[in-house]
Structure formats: C-alpha cells, structure tokens
Subunit: 801 residues, 2 copies
C-alpha cells in the first residue's frame, strides 16, 4: 500500500539523521573497497526502498539532486519534514517545486481575488453574469485544489494536521467549492462573507513568502499590543462612565446620551477625529469642562499610545533578531544535510570540486563553469582539495556573489572604436567642478521653474505649457540629457545604471522629456507638471542625512512591500465584509437629526460645500477600498460610522471599530519597522567605515589554470575554465554581493552569530553523540563523529557561518 509506505517514511523522518548515518555505515561495510567513490545516502537508501540497482553516476546524480533540494529548502525557509524521502517521491516533489506550478498557483489565486470586481456588487465596467464568474471561480478553485492534492500526495496527508496553514487552506477551499456550486445552482449570490478569506490562497503561494513572514511578525507582536489595548480600553471605559455622568443631563448633542453613546464618543476621541466637536457643547456651558477632555487626550493619546508604540517597537526588534537567528540556523542545517550527501567514503570530510559542480548543476543551472569554480575557490579558505563541513556551511554567502575578472574593470571603451569619445567624456566627468556644474544646472532648473510658477497668469493651459514645455524646459532637458550621455560615455551603460541615483536621474529626465512632448501634443494632460520638479530631488544627494534616509528606504523596500500586501489583504477582507453588509444602503440625505446630517445633505446641483460623504460607501470593491483608506487615515472616520450606524443599525459600529483597531496595529508595526530599519542602518554606518564595507561587499580570489587542474577541474568545467584562465598566469577575480539587509545583519550581529552557532552546536552535539555511540548501533565507527568535532573547534575559534 502506498499509504503504508508513506506512513513508514513519515515515522522514519523523525530520526532521519540517525537513520542516514545508519545507512551510511551499512554502506561503508558492504562497499568497503569499491572502485569509485561510494555513495552515502540517497543511493543506499533508494536501493533499500526500491530494490533498484543504480550505477555510481546515477547514485551521485541522485545525491546532487537531493542536496540541491536541501539547499533550496534552506533558502526558502521550508521545513525539512516535507523533504522527499524516497526516489519515488521525487517526481511529485519536482512537480510541486516548479516555476509553472508556482505560476499557476499565483494566477489562480489572483483570479479568485479579482473575482470581487465582477461579482455583485460589481465594479460597473467589469460586471459578469453569475454563471460566468461562478464558472471562473470553480475553475480557479479546482486548479488550487489539484495543486493542493499534488502537494499533499508528496508530503503525505498526515502533515495537514500538523501544518495549520495547509489545513486552513484545505477547509477554506472546501467551503468555497461548496458555495461556488450553490451559487451556480441558484444562479444568484447569497450572503458570502467567506469570500473575505480568498487572500489565504494568495498568501500561501510561493511568491508571498515575505507577506507570510510579516503576518507572522504581526501575530508575534500581538500579545503586547493586546495587553496595551486592554490598558487603553480601561481608560476609555472609565472616562466614558465619567463623561456620561458629567454631560448626559445638560448637553444636548447626543455625544453622551447613554453610556454606550459615551463609550463611542470616547473611542472616537481616542483617534481625535471628533475633537473638538465633542467638547464644544460642554465647553460652551463651562470652560472648565475642557479639562476633562484635555486630560483624557493627554493620558490616552500622548502617553498610552506612545507607550504602545514603544512596546511594539521593543517586541519588533526582538523578533527581528530571533528571525535572523532562525534563518541562519536553518540554512546552516540545510548546508549540513547537503554536505552529508556530497562527501564520499574516501574523503568523508571534504566536498570535492566535481561534486560541488554537480550540486550546482541542479541547484542553480544558470551559473557558468567559471562561477562554480570561483565559488568553490572562495569557499575553500584552507586551500585543500575540498570543502570541509565548516567551509561548506558558508555556501549561501557565495551564491550571492557576482564575479568579474579584475581586468574587466578597465574602462568599457578600452577596446572599442569610440575610445577617444569615451576618454574625453571620462576626463570631463572627472573634472573637479563637474558635479558643481551639474548641481548648478539643477538649481537653475529649479529657479526657472519657480519663476514660471509665479508667472503663471491667466489661462491654465498656457501656464502649464510655460511651466513644462517652454524654451527653458527644453534647454535644461538638453543639458540633463547631455550630462547623462557624458556619464554613460565615461563609465559604460551598465556601470552607469548600477547606481540608483543615476537611474533616478535618467528616468526623471526622460519622464520630463516625455511630459514636455505630451503637453505639446495634448495640452490638457496636466499630470505631467509633476515631472519637472522631480529632478530637484537630486539635490538631496548632497547631504549625508538624506542619503541615510533614502538608503533606509531602499533597505526597507522589501519589508514595506510586504506590509503593503498585508494592508491590501486586510482591505480585501474588510471590503468584502463591508460590501456584504452595507452595499444595499443609499446614504443620500440619510441621518436626518443626527450630528452627521450635514455631511449627507444631497441635492442634484450639490450646493452645500459639504454633502459629498454619500460617496464614501461600499458600492463595489473600488469604492470600498477608498472608504477603507479614509477609515485608515482616521480623520472624520466617525462620520462614515455614524451614517451606517443610523441606516444599518447600531451594531455596524463594531465593523468600523474593529477595522480601526486592525489598521492601528498594522500601522504601529510599520512605524516600528521603519524605526528599527533606520536605527539599524545608522548603527551600521557608524560602526562600519567605507573600507570595511568595501571588504564586506567584495571578495577577491586569485587563481590560475594550474590550480584549477590541481583542484580537479575536468571535462566540461575544464573546457570552460580554459577560456578565462590563461595557463601559467595568476588571475584575480572580484566577487560583488548586493547590499541587502541580510548582509548588513550578518555584520552587525557578528558577536551574536558566533554565540548562536556555538549554542546550537552544543545542543546539537549532545543528542546525536549519545545516540550514535549507544549500544543500539554496534556498527558505528568514529568516522561520523570526527567532522563534527573538527568543525566545532573551528567554529569556536573563528567566525564561520
């Protein structure tokens, strides 16, 4: 039975490492003097399970493949318990770990999400009949279902109970399929709040790893937030009580009519949205009542809310560190597992170049032979013929390096017919006043623009044309293009585009050019006036603090995009619920005799300056999005809440209050993450000189053809290397890694990292050594133990990943 076998493997999976060394030892015994390298893990195990006889090469291919899978799992932070544990599972694994699979998954979940545009209440332009969107939904759901089935077939159905996310996904899928069928049968949508759960599928896709991490971070930050909310709510409740007793009798405004009114008013006041309106009636009665409100705002808003931020910030910083630690140790574990599969019996402590190249053939087929060789050289610090376990543990660090021969650093034009031009440009750019000149031109552009703005008289189109398509615009555009051309000439296009500031310059200049052209063609297209001032931003490069700020933004961008996705998912969730609850209500002229009456006064020829609020509704997913954004910004949010409380019942307030709390939590975490990132960057900058950083981001490798041969380069690899390594010459290659947050973290947490690794070694060493040397397994030779102890020694003395 297939199922039994899987269960058997599952059980085995628990002490896989023991089991591996087991089979390894068995192997050592049976194959003690084989002609080639003896395979260690995969080969022996697969024959154990399937009874197939494999050739040595096949053995090794298998091992490369499995090692590559381990590395992949390490990279993606996947748990090893979904690792394929027999060759039969491999096809299933590969089917699931395949760009097409991931793409289809993403597509299906995006289609599902976009269905909200077409389902009733639909965005007018996208409306579809029920049978159409029902069919699309069922289709997308079945794609997801089939993919889930494939995945579970390989990791085993049992895992679903251990893996909450997959379980949630499965249950949601089930409900959704049922509901989609019901919709198709009844040919009409029912009250389907479960649609709000659709983003689950999106979040579960491979591409949303960052989003999942951010959600996990939010969940981990929740306990302190909830504690602080508890404290906050205590004050809100106490003040509500007091407010009720103070104001209910002699104030006519409805803010404190009942205790629940009072609570709502104080809750809204927490967001300051109804201040000072809530105070004014009582303030008119006696000036001293202002004290009540002032004290409340100071306690709740200025003290407690700031403390909440502080608590979240502290938690966030701690979690960030833990995350870094977990990721590091997981990758190290993956590298160790891969290492075990790549060593041969003859040299059980070292991975040789041939096997390293084999691994990379599977792990990253896009690397050329030179890259592979240089990575190997870079890893092999000891200079021996292979990579020790400790050396191999750094494997993820070298993957990020991009190699170039030092000779390639010569100017691009050195072997080109454009040489004189390039040389002239280089001289011009290197001229000491070149930068000053550029800044002068930028300032000139800014001044002329400001003059144009004040000149702007009479017709709007004329003024726009004056601003963005007059002779001075063209003049400055030409100067900027000239500057860009000079720089490109001097350094070559690719080197030019490496600097973010250059990309910004060029794109802004091109945008302004485009804008000027557009404005000449279509004088109504006012949006292009934006593009001219943008060039002024270049001035911010001048000051260190701005560079820090922009650098932080770059560092933050992955996190910010995750946060943005989380916000969008939250918006989707609340928008669906909002539409299901409130789509049917028309707010025009609603709320007569309430405090928000004025905002909803409507007449065809809208004469009042207010009275547009009926537009903030839940008519379709787009207007819902805008309404929710207004709730996020918080100002005047109570107007929406009060309106719906009037037309749809008092309990709809819960929806708005809960949404407020959700956004507050997410935004607080966003603020905390910005703080953390900035502080991190500044501390990094302070502790790292320009030269330290140069060292951190660049690696040098000196090598020669002879050395490559000595290290065992042969076959295709040798062919490829010969093109780059002229015999008898030392060549130097420079490897450059991008400046990601991880690289910086590794530098900043240096001391911690050493501690973590040592701790992990301690905790890891103890159990296996007792297991292996136990009487259970009389065959265990010390051979397995040795690399560990050697490794430990190295780790404790130096810095090793």
């Amino acid at each position: 039975m297939k199922f039994e076998g899987l269960l058997h493997i599952m059980k085995d999976g628990i002490n896989r490492s023991i089991y591996s060394s087991f089979s390894n030892n068995l192997d050592n015994r049976t194959d003690t003097d084989g002609g080639g390298d003896a395979t260690l893990d995969m080969g022996s195990r697969s024959s154990l399970h399937t009874g197939l006889q494999m050739s040595e090469d096949e053995h090794w291919e298998m091992n490369y493949h499995e090692a590559a899978i381990y590395l992949e799992e390490g990279l993606n932070n996947e748990k090893f318990d979904s690792h394929p544990s027999s060759p039969e599972e491999l096809p299933a694994y590969l089917r699931v770990h395949n760009p097409w699979y991931h793409g289809l998954d993403l597509l299906a979940s995006l289609v599902l999400i976009l269905l909200a545009f077409t389902e009733d209440p639909a965005v007018p332009a996208f409306e579809l009949p029920v049978w159409a969107h029902g069919t699309i939904e069922l289709l997308a759901l079945s794609v997801i279902g089939i993919e889930l089935h494939l995945k579970l077939k390989w990791i085993g159905w049992g895992t679903i109970f251990k893996h909450k996310r997959t379980m949630l996904k499965g249950i949601t899928l089930l409900i959704m399929v049922l509901e989609a069928v019901v919709v198709l049968c009844r040919q009409s949508s029912h009250f389907r709040v479960t649609r709000a759960l659709r983003p689950i599928f999106l979040v579960d896709t491979r591409h949303c790893g960052g989003v999942r991490r951010f959600i996990r971070q939010i969940l981990q930050s929740l306990p302190p937030i909830i504690d602080m909310l508890g404290l906050l709510m205590f004050f809100v409740a106490t003040y509500s009580l007091l407010g009720y007793y103070l104001f209910t009798e002699h104030v006519d405004n409805g803010h404190f009519q009942t205790i629940s009114d009072s609570f709502v008013s104080m809750f809204v006041l927490l967001t300051t949205a109804n201040f000072p309106d809530v105070m004014m009636p009582s303030y008119a009665k006696s000036k001293w009542y202002a004290l009540f409100f002032i004290l409340y705002i100071i306690t709740v808003l200025y003290v407690l809310m700031n403390l909440m931020l502080a608590v979240v910030y502290e938690t966030f910083t701690r979690i960030e560190r833990d995350k870094c630690r977990a990721l590091l140790l997981h990758r190290r574990g993956a590298a160790r597992r891969a290492f075990r599969l790549l060593v041969s019996r003859r040299a059980p402590r070292a991975v040789r170049l041939r096997h390293f190249a084999g691994l990379l053939r599977h792990y990253a087929p896009h690397y050329g032979g030179l890259d592979v060789y240089l990575m190997f050289k870079q890893l092999s610090r000891s200079g021996g013929g292979g990579l020790s376990r400790a050396e191999f543990a750094n494997v993820y660090e070298v993957f990020a390096l991009r190699w170039a021969a030092q000779a390639a650093r010569a100017p691009w034009y050195s072997a080109s017919p454009l040489e004189p031009l390039g040389r002239a440009a280089a001289v011009a750019v290197r001229w000491r006043y070149f930068e000053h000149l550029v800044y002068a031109i930028i300032i000139g552009n800014g001044v002329s623009m400001i003059l144009r703005v004040f000149e702007a008289a009479g017709d709007l189109q004329d003024s726009a044309r004056l601003l963005c398509a007059s002779w001075d615009t063209w003049l400055f555009l030409i100067l900027f293009l000239l500057e860009a051309a000079l720089r490109i000439m001097a350094s070559g296009l690719s080197a030019y585009l490496e600097s973010g500031w250059n990309v910004f310059d060029l794109s802004v200049t091109l945008l302004a050019l485009l804008g000027a052209v557009m404005l000449t063609i279509a004088p109504k297209l006012f949006i292009v006036v934006m593009f001219r001032p943008l060039r002024l931003m270049r001035l911010y490069k001048l000051k260190k603090r701005y560079r820090d700020v922009f650098g932080t933004l770059v560092l933050l961008s992955p996190l910010m995009s995750s946060a943005g996705c989380v916000m969008l998912v939250m918006y989707y969730f609340f928008a669906i619920i909002g539409m299901e609850l409130f789509a049917g209500y028309d707010l025009r002229n609603c709320c007569i005799n309430t405090t928000v009456e004025d905002f909803y006064k409507y007449s065809e020829n809208s004469s009042t300056p207010l009275g547009y609020y009926y537009l903030n509704n839940f008519e379709n997913i787009l207007t819902s999005g805008v309404s929710l954004f207004e709730l996020t910004v918080v100002n005047n949010w109570f107007i929406l809440m009060n309106a719906y409380a009037t037309v749809a019942g008092q309990f709809s307030r819960i929806y708005f209050m809960v949404f407020y709390l959700f956004t507050m939590v997410v935004l607080t975490i966003v603020v905390a993450s910005v703080l953390e990132a900035f502080r991190f960057r500044i501390q990094y900058k302070r502790s790292t000189t320009k030269r330290d950083e140069e060292k951190l981001l660049h690696e040098e490798v000196h090598t020669s053809w002879e050395e490559a041969q000595r290290l065992g380069a042969s076959g295709d690899l040798a062919e490829e290397l010969r093109a780059h390594l002229p015999p008898g010459m030392q060549v130097t290659f420079i490897g450059t890694r991008p400046r990601t947050k991880e690289v910086l973290q590794r530098r900043m947490y240096q001391a911690d990292i050493q501690k973590w690794l040592a701790e992990e070694d301690d905790s890891e060493d103890a159990p296996p050594s007792t297991t292996v040397t136990s009487s259970e397994d009389p065959l265990s030779p010390p051979i397995i133990q040795q690399p560990d102890s050697e490794n430990n020694h190295q780790i404790r003395t130096g810095y090793q990943l």
Copy 2:
C-alpha cells in the same frame, strides 16, 4: 580698582589648575615644617591676594567651603568659570546661591508670567487696572534685575558676552522695563508681543534645570528635523503644484483655486485634518482622482513622517548618551577640584576623615555624624586611613545613599506593645493565598460595579448613588481598608508607603471613600464616579508587561514634566502672540461663503449641532490655551486657521502653520524620548537580574567603634558615633539608593563609561604635565604629578567614577 582685580582673576581662571599647583608649591616651600597640616590652595591664595593672615582652622574652613562649592557646581552642572576666585567674592557667591535668592527669583518670574491673566485681554475674574499690573510688573522686573546685578557682580560683567542665556535675559529685561514704563506712562497697553518672552526668566531659574536641558535637547535635535522638514516641504510643494493644475478648473470648492490655496490644502492634508473633505469634490467628478490623494498621504504621512520620527529618535538616543557622558565627566572634574583642596601636605594623596567631615558640614549640613562616617567608609575601599583621588571621585554616588543599621530591619513592632497584633497581621499577609484573595476582592468590586452600571435605570442621581455609594461600595471599601490596615500592621507605615503600588492602593481607596461620602452629601457631584473604577488598575500589577510600562512611566516622569513645562512655555509664547494678533475679532457668523461657514453659524438659541467654533478664540490666556491645545491635537485645526485667515487676513495662516510645526517637533521628541526610555528600561531589565539590581541599589558597610577611632573620628563626630557603634562589636549598615535613571544608566553604559574616563584622562594628562615640567616653573616637584599617575593606573584597571 575692583574691576581690574576681577579681570585679573578672569584671566587667571583660564589656567587655574596650573595656578593652583603653583600656589600649592609655593606653600610647600614656605611652610615646609609647620606644626599642623599646611593649607594648600584657598588659604595660600587668599593670603596672596588680601595679605590677611589666617589661622590654620580658618584656612581649612575656607578650603572646605570652596570644595563644597565645587561639588555643588558639579551637581548642578554649572560651569567652573563662575566659581568664586577670591575670598571677597565668597559673600556675593553665597548671596546668589541661597534658597531665598532662588525662591525670590522663581516667585518674580512666576508673577511676571501670571500677569497675562490680568492684562488686557484679561481673564474676567482676574482683570486689574493698568496702573496695578504695570506696577506689579515693574516690581517683579526690578527683583529680577537686582538679582541679575548681584550675580553679575560676582561672576563679572565680562561673562555676559560669553554666556548667551544671560545676555538674552539681560536684553529682554531691558526691553521689558522700558515697555512697562511706557505702559505706566500711557496708562494703556500697546502691541506687546515681547510679553511672549517672559518665560525666559522662568526657564533661567535654578528650579528649571530639567526644562533647560530639555530645551537644549530640542535645539540639538533641530538640524535633522529641519532637514526632514525640507524633504517634506518639497513633496508638499510638488503635490500642491500638481493639485493646482489638476483641480483648479473643474472643482468649485476653493481648495485648489490658486497655487497658494493648493499649498495650504496640501499642508493641512499633511496633518490629515481636511481628509477626506479636500478629496470629495474631485472624487465626485472621477473616482480616479482619489489616487492623487492616496499617494500623497502614503508618501508624506506614512513614509516621510515616520522617517522623521526615526531620525529624531536616533538623534535623541545619541544626545542622551552624550549628555550622560558630559554630566559624568563634569562631576568627576568637580570632585577632582574638591579633592585638591582637601588634601594636606603630609598626606597629599588622601583625604582624611576630619577633612571629609569638614567638607560635608558645608556641602550637606543635614547629614548626621554617622552618615558622614559611613560615606567615608563606603568610599574608602582600600581600607587605608584616607580617600585616594580615585576613591574620592565616587563621592556623588555615596551622597544618594540612605543608611540604616541592619538591626533596624527587624519588624517595626518588635519593641512595641502592639507586637501580637503586628505579628498576626504579618502572618495573615504572608499567607500564600492572601494576594489571591485581594485580587478576588478587586475583581468582585469590578464585577459589582459593572452590574451597577447596567442596572443604572431612570434617574441619574440614583444611578450614581447606586454606583458609588450603595451597600456593595461600602462593603468593598471596608474590605480594602482592612487590607491596607493589615499590610500597615504587618510592615509598619513607613515601609508600607515605600512601595508605589501601596500608595496607589491606599489613596485610591481613600478617594473612593471620600467620593462615597461626598455623593451621599451632595448627590450632584458626579465627578466622584471616577474613583471607584480606579481600584481595578491594581490588576495591572499582575502582569510583567504592565509593570514594565508603569516602571517606564516612573522613569520618564522627570523628563515628562520637563517636556510638559516646555509645552506650557510654548503655549504661553504663542498665546500671547495670538492674543495680541487676534483678540479683537468676533467669530460669530463669520466666514460666510467659505468652507468653514457652518462651523461659525451662531444664533442665540444655538439650534445647529455645529456652530460652537466661535468659542475657540484668543479672548484671554485661558481660552487661548484651549484653542492652542485644539491646534496641538490637530484634528479640525484648519477650521480655526481658515476662520482667522478670513477675518484677519491670509497672513495669519503663518501663525497657525508655525505653531503646528513647533508642536510637531516637540511631540516628536516626546515620542522619541518615550521610545528611548522604554527601550532603555527593557534592556536594563533583560541584562540585570533581580540580584544584580539588589546589589546595585544597596551597599553594605561593616564597621566598629575601634575602626572609627583608627580612622580619626574625634570630637563631635566621635560623640555621635558612640551612640550607634557599641565598642567591641562589628555593626553592619545597609545603604539604599533610589532607582533613578542615572543609576541605571551607570549600569548600562558601564563599558562606555570606562572608555570615556580613560579617554578623558589621556586628553587631560598631556597638557598639565608639559606645563608643569616646563622650564617656566623650576620649582615643580613631582609631588603634584604623582597622584595623577597613580589615579590613572587605578582607573584603567578597574571601574572608577
């Protein structure tokens, strides 16, 4: 001439230390075999200047006095260049450093500030005729003037040019006196915005040191804030331009009519106060216009404002550290200067008990002989007969200790007739379920209270009485009083009141009792309903996170009160200007045909729910304060701004915008300081165990009568000590220091502190050694050098203040 002498001293002041050692050496030579201890500094110098012959005791008294002044200057972070440099200056110095002087200073500046209540536009209840408040003002100003004169007489008029704060104070004083005279002559107030500068006098008083420090911190944080504001304003301006072109033609709402309208709208949108109103007209035209506003808010509010906070936070943290360093080094310098005055020729490296006691007689006369002796013992780690320079440097640390003999830690009732009662109470309190019981009672109180709230039917007075003076209230009050009585019985009143939580419990219980009694007497006094729920806060003690939060609040309280004072000063400043500019305008029914028209609609029997905004005006200092608070809270602040822009001219917007920027800056710094304090506390808690803290806050001294005699206790001191130290017995004393931020900082910055001290020693040692050993002064023996080098050695090897 007096003046010449002062100038001479001023010149000398620059290389005072060289000069001191000079006179010291002279002394050594002339007085080489005197009977008693030879005086070193003050004595010899004063005789040098005045030619007076002093007795040995007088010499020493002089030295004690000057050393005490040095320590005082170190404590108050005053510069040493205002140190009295001759005995004649001493009376002037003492006159200025006198509680009466400080009190009078504070009083005069408070009176000056409070004059704003009485001057036109006055608070009705406090209005005074012009001659009255003019006279009071002149009186207060002359008090301040006389005090300034006294101070300058002693530090020298020349210092005024070096000391910006004093110069500013002098100039302001001059202008104010002139204006006050003019007011008295004309018998009417003119346009006196200079009144806004009155808080300068308050800030300059001795009691406002914290406020001055906070202001300095704000000023130091300003450069990064201004940079960020520049970036912010660039975006505001760019979006204003785009907004103008996009919306000016087809939107009728006045938000984007001209470029300056557009700028104001975008500036207000930066505070979100006019969102979504500013968007609605264009949103009604096309839904896509929402994108413009959403993008703007995301860039400016969610990205840039948060980055601003991050920048300020980073700066604030750095400044905090620098402040700690400067304070530490200044105190150390003061201790060194004092040390030089307390050593005798016979033992030039050690301060003896007799001289230490002499110092304390002047520095802190309230200490008893036992305290003095224990401090000396605590400082003298080496156990020798005197304090070395390094030991003496810790002098500030021991001043904070409060001593008690270990025997005194026995229960309070051990020698009292109430012993059986106390013992029983102690048993009850120590019962393992006692705390549980207390919490159960608190929860019971909470539940009964909530039930009462929902019960609250019908009459308000009845429900208030049910809530706060019904039988269950009394029951729980009695239980709480019983609990407090038990605890007091068990630990004694003073020990009971040492815990902040106990004080909170007791006061809340007494307040609730008072409330219940009040409500029974005057059923209209609803404010007392607040007191019953407060007891529930005790529940927050249960959880660690809340304890951290409250602990941070305690740690923050000095800073927060400084921040509060700064806010008040700022309010005063802007309130005066606001009154001078806007007091004359009546806002009732103003602003017809503007967007804020509705908010100012007024009729005698105010029927509209809005229409109270005319109350937010600058009629007198109190209403101005409330109006400014509303501007601080930011919500709807543009309504006030627009109203005054309509009635008082467009330029009045500047006032409101500037005020917004000011409050934003101060509030950002407050947030940063909260973040810093919380992070600091958490890190401290994490790195410090309960036992470490115990050690940090407590010091133990073992001593005996024999040791005291050996150390040279004689005369009155010996008399006092004999009462506490029975001959032939070792007694242990425990010194306890309060847990202030400084103590925690010393623990957290331990490593830094050692570095700072070492650095300072290096930079300090170099110049004197070259000066002293230069050929200029052939008399210099190595005797002066030795303590330095000995001291350095000790500092580099161990932790020494």
